[in-house]
């Protein structure tokens, strides 16, 4: 088997190199396997560990049934490969891939019959499905092929998955997945019964039994070698094989026998009936195969010694004659270009060898002595002599078989009156040799039946033999089966002769709703359901998604919260009465935000809520947080205002009043929910908070400002993360606003002196002499004259440096008193903002001539290097070390590494503010100037 997968990889290369002739070379692999199987014969077991956690091992076991299957799979495989060498032309598109898949399929099929592990069996089972999908779709440009391939894979995988669940149920119930062990000690119980039904679903779908049979005729879109192999000899037998494999253990478990017999018989009749309607020789054979598969499942599923013997022998003979018949059709198709039996005429003389083989194969199919088909059919009838109902249906099915076999021979070879003999080029040796071999095998299976009997009987011996069970032979004397055989042949022949009448009856009886149409309806319905469901859930509207989420929030924690009523605990409304005032203010501002029609006003109101929150921090005794929050609010407001210049001043009113109300209800409900949750959570507290340990830790870390120590030392790890968040957010803004333009540093000299100019309002000319000799801010010279404000320029010039000093002070004093890198960075950022507002983008570039991202990048580098240094020195990332130097002038320097960390934060924050100004301020200015619109200055 391994050889097959290796060959599967090699095959495409070989075919590419050698053309179609490579198939002959490849055929050596399955031929060798056949030889090996025949020689070893006895039972062998090989186990390799794979996934012990799932009790899934690569367990292989060779016994009588496996041996027979290997001979069928590998033997027919070898012959079909030889046949392929003649069937295809070297230049056919996709042939190398085809060769690879074909051989891989053969390998998977061998694995399937050799596997001694339920799940491993499923592995190969699905592999054969997938490869058959690819093989059926060989003519990929034809819609029919693609559709048929899809139908085949969907139907068989449906069964396969059901089977997988069934196998798991059985395996878990048995405590082992090893097939041989399960057969030896079959588990029982309701789970096992359900599992068995599921397994049967898989087996029936794979072997194309009703109601899954329709995929097989569709699969005839595949090239004929594929049909001969997959859809006659090998893959479709997988279901039969599985039933044969498990019957010895489970045939007596209640629904097993009923299901196999009922569905098998129904399939046999319907398949035969439909076969008689076909005009395409291949479809005729396909429905014949469906019929025979039903028959086989009955035989191996019923679970008696005689039936098992007969069933497995029928499996052999069927493989031989059906593969041969398909190959004959392939030769005809290849030679004449048609498979329509109404068009074919007089091939008897055009292809005598083919004709002889075809006739023998069909005769075996019909059960004519002394061929294999006769022997097996005799045995089949003999096995059911004590069950007249089943026997009667079998006989009926066999009559149909005879009829369609005759139709096949007549259709393919007969001289039809009023038809010119069809022109046909003769098949090469490569095409006819495999057919001849299979035909000889068919004859041998008849004449030499007793030779094969002992091997087949080894499988049948899993059951106790009955008192009058007989072994396989051509001649048993004048028995009931012989009489039935004769009856079948006569009735079948009569049915064929009366084909005109039969087809009229069929035309009347043809149902409007067959399985295939049902499948199409189901799939169509599925597609429509998918469309509907998706249209319902996938609205493409953000507000709808948000409502979904809020709804989930209300439903889940909300209902849990209500279930917990009444809540215990006490309410303390405020610590300081001022809190209530501030809280009220925040609520009013929030409500006002929602109701604004002007964007700027909304931003201002939102700003009030932020300031209110900052005040809350202060009231709670956290001036540090308050300071940071105030500064953040200010910077955010600036950013907002800068952006608003590019937006319409008013909101676009699109919401319907009802939706607005709904949203209001949602908002109020979520607000109540959060308040309720907070109430419950706070009142559930019993343990002291972790923050109780902070003051002590802060002192240990050498400072008194808990917030700052927390940020740069205790939770430096979080701060590093948040710094990167800030940094990347700014980088994203830069990226979005600049898009493909690489940011360049604006230089004052390049300016036209028209920045923020008002189009339409003529810039008043300053008399040359009136120009001051030196301006306060160099960049402001680039501004359009009417936009300049001396007062503002002076203020900016005056305040800029003190603000920077202040920021540095905040930075270094952070450890002990309010401040720290974050607040300090914001102060510095505000200083830069002032320079920008007073002097425009050229002034900004002048104030800090750094490229975008550079400052933050440096900051993040400093932060991470600090962390890594700690890791290097003490093995703990961000471990603080205090550096003490004695410098000549300054004296003792006490410098904890956390300050370096804080410098990193400082740099990141400055860089972020700088980039916001650059992008939302400077670049937007530039874009506006280019578009010639008026700029609304702050």
């Amino acid at each position: 088997m391994l050889a097959h997968f290796v060959a599967a990889v090699v095959a495409p290369v070989a075919v590419r190199r050698l053309g179609a002739r490579a198939f002959w070379l490849i055929a050596a692999v399955p031929a060798a396997v056949t030889g090996w199987a025949v020689v070893t014969r006895g039972s062998r077991t090989e186990v390799f560990s794979w996934v012990p956690g799932y009790q899934l091992d690569l367990a292989f076991r060779m016994d009588a049934l496996a041996l027979l299957m290997v001979v069928v799979v590998a033997g027919v495989g070898a012959l079909v490969l030889v046949y392929c060498g003649g069937y295809f032309n070297s230049g056919d598109v996709g042939l190398p891939g085809f060769a690879g898949m074909f051989v891989a399929f053969a390998g998977a099929m061998l694995g399937l019959v050799l596997a001694d592990d339920l799940v491993l069996l499923y592995v190969f089972w699905e592999l054969t499905t997938v490869f058959s999908y690819l093989l059926i779709g060989f003519h990929a440009e034809e819609r029919n092929s693609r559709r048929a391939a899809m139908t085949a894979i969907v139907v068989t995988t449906f069964g396969g998955l059901a089977m997988l669940v069934g196998l798991i149920m059985i395996g878990l119930a048995a405590g082992t997945f090893r097939i041989s062990e399960i057969i030896a000690r079959p588990p029982s119980g309701a789970t096992v019964t359900a599992g068995l039904v599921l397994v049967l679903v898989g087996a029936l779908s794979k072997s194309a039994l009703i109601p899954f049979h329709f995929w097989l005729p569709g699969a005839m879109a595949a090239p004929t070698p594929v049909s001969a192999y997959l859809h006659a000899a090998a893959m479709v037998k997988a279901g039969v094989y599985l039933v044969a494999r498990l019957s010895p253990a489970f045939a007596d478990v209640s629904p097993w026998r009923t299901i196999t017999v009922v569905f098998g018989l129904a399939t046999m009749i319907i398949g035969g009936w439909r076969a008689m309607r076909q005009y395409d020789l291949k479809l005729l054979l396909a429905f014949g195969t469906v019929s025979q598969l039903g028959f086989l499942v009955v035989m191996v599923g019923v679970g008696t010694w005689a039936a098992a013997l007969a069933g497995v022998y029928t499996l052999l003979t069927h493989a031989a004659f059906k593969a041969a018949s398909f190959m004959v059709v392939g030769i005809i198709d290849h030679g004449t270009g048609t498979r329509d039996l109404r068009k074919l005429s007089g091939l008897r003389s055009a292809a005598p060898v083919t004709c002889v083989c075809g006739v023998i194969a069909a005769a075996s199919m019909a059960g004519l002595p002394p061929l294999g088909g006769f022997v097996s059919k005799e045995a089949d009838f003999a096995a059911f002599t004590d069950d007249p109902v089943v026997l009667a249906v079998l006989v009926l099915g066999s009559i149909l078989t005879v009829a369609y076999s005759a139709r096949f021979v007549w259709g393919a070879f007969a001289v039809k009156p009023g038809r010119e003999p069809t022109v046909m080029h003769g098949p090469g040796v490569s095409l006819s040799a495999p057919v001849v071999v299979l035909t000889v095998a068919t004859v041998l299976l008849g004449l030499a039946a007793p030779v094969f009997d002992p091997i087949v009987a080894r499988y049948a011996n899993a059951y106790p033999p009955g008192p009058d069970d007989e072994h396989l032979a051509l001649w048993h004397g004048f028995t009931l089966p012989l009489g039935l055989s004769a009856l079948v042949l006569l009735a079948g022949a009569a049915l064929f002769v009366a084909r005109g009448a039969v087809s009229r009856v069929q035309a009347v009886l043809h149902p409007h709703l067959d399985a295939e149409r049902t499948y199409r309806l189901i799939m169509h319905g599925l597609d429509r359901a998918a469309d509907q469901a998706t249209r319902f859930t996938q609205r493409g509207s953000l507000p709808v998604y948000l409502r979904f989420i809020l709804f989930a929030l209300l439903m889940m924690p909300g209902s849990a919260l209500l279930a917990g009523l009444p809540w215990g605990g006490a309410v303390r409304l405020w610590d300081v009465p001022a809190e209530a005032v501030v809280a009220g203010l925040i609520c009013v501002a929030a409500l006002a935000t929602v109701n604004q029609t002007w964007r700027l006003a909304a931003v201002m109101c939102a700003g009030v809520t932020g300031v209110g929150t900052a005040t809350m921090f202060v009231l709670h005794g956290a001036p540090d947080l308050g300071l940071t929050q105030f500064l953040t609010e200010t910077v955010t407001l600036v950013a907002f205002v800068l952006v608003l210049r590019r937006l319409p001043p008013k909101f676009v009113e699109r919401q319907v009043e009802g939706i607005r109300r709904l949203n209001a209800v949602f908002a109020a409900a979520v607000g109540l929910l959060v308040a309720g949750m907070a109430y419950v959570a706070v009142n559930a507290r019993t343990a002291p908070p972790a923050s109780a340990g902070y003051p002590e830790a802060a002192i240990e870390a050498g400072g008194h400002n808990i917030v700052n120590i927390g940020l740069v030392d205790l939770r430096a790890w979080d701060t590093m993360g948040e710094s990167s968040v800030l940094l990347i957010a700014a980088a994203g803004v830069i990226g979005l606003i600049y898009l493909r333009r690489t940011p360049t540093m604006p230089r004052a000299g390049e300016s036209s002196g028209e920045v923020w100019a008002r189009p339409g309002v003529p810039s008043f000319e300053e008399p040359e002499a009136a120009r001051p000799a030196a301006t306060w801010l160099r960049g402001s010279e680039t501004l359009s004259a009417e936009r300049r404000s001396i007062v503002f320029e002076v203020t900016a010039w005056t305040v800029f440096h003190p603000m920077l000093v202040l920021s540095l002070f905040l930075l270094f004093s952070g450890h002990g008193t309010p401040g720290g890198g974050f607040a300090a960075g914001l102060v510095a950022g505000l200083a830069l903002t002032m320079r920008y507002l007073a002097g425009g983008r050229y002034e900004l570039a002048d104030a800090l001539p750094l490229g975008p991202g550079v400052c933050q990048g440096a900051g993040l580098t400093v932060i991470t290097v600090t962390g890594l240094t700690g890791l290097l020195i003490s093995g703990e990332v961000f471990r603080e070390t205090v550096l003490d130097w004695r410098l000549p002038v300054l004296g003792e320097i006490h410098f904890p590494t956390s300050t370096i960390f804080d410098i990193g934060v400082y740099l990141v924050v400055i860089g972020v503010v700088l980039d916001f100004l650059r992008a939302m301020g400077g670049e937007l200015d530039r874009q506006v100037e280019e578009e010639g619109e008026e700029v609304i200055t702050a």
Partner: protein, 514 residues
């Protein structure tokens, strides 16, 4: 015991990102080298951590030398280590692919050199999430990766991307708010955010309060993980970004949510009584997701829906809350990260070769580019759970767990799982039928201009042969996914031990609070 390797997967990419930004857009080749080297080293570190955690138990690091609960504690246990390893391999592969694409596209996806910093920061965020031992740090990790993802999703700023980015960002912000709210509530109720300590203290809370906290966390993570009904944002936002970014998001970001669910459900809320809720959500996620996939004609959108659908498999495992279920979920996470990323990368190749990802405009690719066909087919079958690929093994674990649980609901989930598998197969075969088989004339010759892109820049989209590094990386990932099958034995036992460790809780708790 502090392990010096633990913080590196976070610190190294941040350092690289910082250096990269500080140096500006100069010497790109060196900088690309740095990115690749950093990510490669993380793969090695993660591999060592897998070994160490499996051998010696959870590995920890307390930054700054402050033990929990004062400081932030980083913890890597078997679950974290495995997911970290798989994601670092993915991240490495995607960056190589993106560099290949960028080199071929004249940096179409890398304007302003923010691609690399954003990418590295995202990687750091993901790593931080996986090793956060502190609920707030988990939030910080989320924020890092989310903010970086905001940048990446809107990169290039085309109209479609900004629209998609809007949905993505607003929904993510809401999820962050919910998460932050839940964190606040947890602290209010217990006074700690160190997860190990929370594990102890939450046990002492009244049941209803615990349930409120648990559900609030679940909603937050459910949005991130795209669990129905919180999933609708995903298929609307992922498909518009360039292939490597979609691939990265699809592989990692939802799994971060799943990881957080696994961590909090097992560590903080053991013996959960939410099994029914989770299982129902899992079933709906699977079904709604896969029905969405069936209704699509664009490969990227289709794959986004399968992504949602297969999140259901993981939630199924979490919902079962048994050792087998969790082990199955963990295996499935590792599998799904790999396969979903690979498929999106392949789609990138398809887009490049065929000029489109719409099935209507593709055909006959199997003949035109057999390599591409193989690259698509194997992971597609893997996604559909065809044996012996990892998707099958993951599914097998979950089905076994479901059958073992044996309740009617568990059996329903088993049924829904196989139905979802079948429909997944149907969906990917549909793509195969239309795009890889079928009419070859729809696909333009290499070099032919297909159409001009709307919006800025007006770059023409040209069908082109893809550069070797893109195909090579994809091939390597297909190989990586296939390797799961080969090492399935040890991997399954590893996930089983990981699940056992999660359920036991004590190894984690004692590693943090000795």
């Amino acid at each position: 015991m502090n392990n010096v390797l633990v913080p590196l997967p976070v610190v190294l990419p941040l350092l690289a990102a910082g250096v990269r930004l500080a140096l500006g857009p100069r010497i790109t080749r060196v900088q690309r080298g740095i990115s690749v080297a950093v990510l490669l080293s993380i793969v090695v570190i993660a591999a060592v951590l897998v070994y160490q955690t499996d051998r010696y138990g959870p590995q920890t690091m307390d930054p700054g030398g402050w033990p929990a609960p004062i400081g932030v504690m980083l913890v890597v246990d078997r679950l974290s280590a495995l997911i970290l390893l798989v994601s670092s391999v993915i991240v490495l592969a995607v960056i190589v692919y993106a560099i290949g694409q960028g080199a071929a596209d004249n940096d179409e996806v890398t304007p302003l050199a923010i691609f690399h910093p954003a990418y590295l920061i995202l990687v750091a965020g993901v790593a931080d999430t996986f090793m956060a031992g502190d609920l707030f740090n988990l939030y910080v990790g989320f924020e890092i990766l989310l903010t970086a993802s905001y940048v990446l999703i809107t990169i290039g700023g085309t109209g479609a991307r900004v629209r998609a980015g809007m949905t993505y960002i607003v929904v993510s912000l809401l999820s962050s708010v919910v998460f932050l709210l839940a964190i606040g509530l947890c602290y209010a109720a217990t006074g700690t955010l160190t997860m190990a300590q929370l594990a102890v203290r939450l046990d002492a809370l009244p049941d209803d309060v615990r349930l409120v906290l648990q559900l609030a966390l679940l909603v937050g993570f459910g949005i991130k993980a795209a669990v129905f009904p919180l999933s609708a944002w995903l298929p609307d936002s992922y498909p518009t970004t360039p292939a490597p970014i979609t691939a990265l998001f699809a592989g990692l970001l939802t799994k971060v949510g799943v990881y957080a669910m696994i961590r909090t459900q097992t560590l903080l809320f053991p013996g959960s009584n939410l099994t029914t809720l989770l299982l129902v959500a899992a079933a709906l996620t699977m079904l709604v997701g896969i029905l969405g996939a069936v209704a699509q004609t664009d490969i990227k959108r289709l794959l986004s829906f399968t992504l949602v659908s297969h999140i259901g498999f993981m939630v199924f495992g979490i919902g079962l809350a048994s050792r087998a279920g969790l082990a199955g979920a963990i295996f499935y996470v590792a599998h799904h990260i790999t396969v979903q990323t690979t498929l999106f990368l392949v789609t990138g190749l398809v887009e490049r070769r065929g000029g489109s990802t719409s099935i209507e405009r593709l055909g006959g690719l199997a003949r035109l580019s057999p390599l591409l066909a193989v690259l698509f087919f194997i992971p597609a079958m893997n996604l559909a759970g065809i044996p012996p690929l990892s998707g099958f093994l993951g599914k097998l674990g979950l089905l076994r767990a479901g059958v073992e649980a044996g309740t009617p609901l568990a059996y329903t989930l088993v049924g829904v799982s196989v139905l979802t598998s079948l429909l997944t197969l149907y969906a990917v075969c549909w793509v195969w039928n239309r795009a890889f088989w079928g009419d070859r004339s729809k696909v333009p010759e290499p070099g032919q201009i297909i159409r001009t892109r709307e919006g800025l820049g007006g770059t023409a989209i040209v069908a082109a042969a893809y550069p070797g590094s893109m195909a090579g990386t994809t091939l390597a990932l297909v190989g990586f996914a296939t390797a799961f099958t080969v090492v399935a034995g040890p991997l399954v036992t590893y996930t089983d031990r990981a699940a056992a460790e999660l359920l036991e809780r004590t190894p984690y708790v004692t590693a943090v609070l000795p």
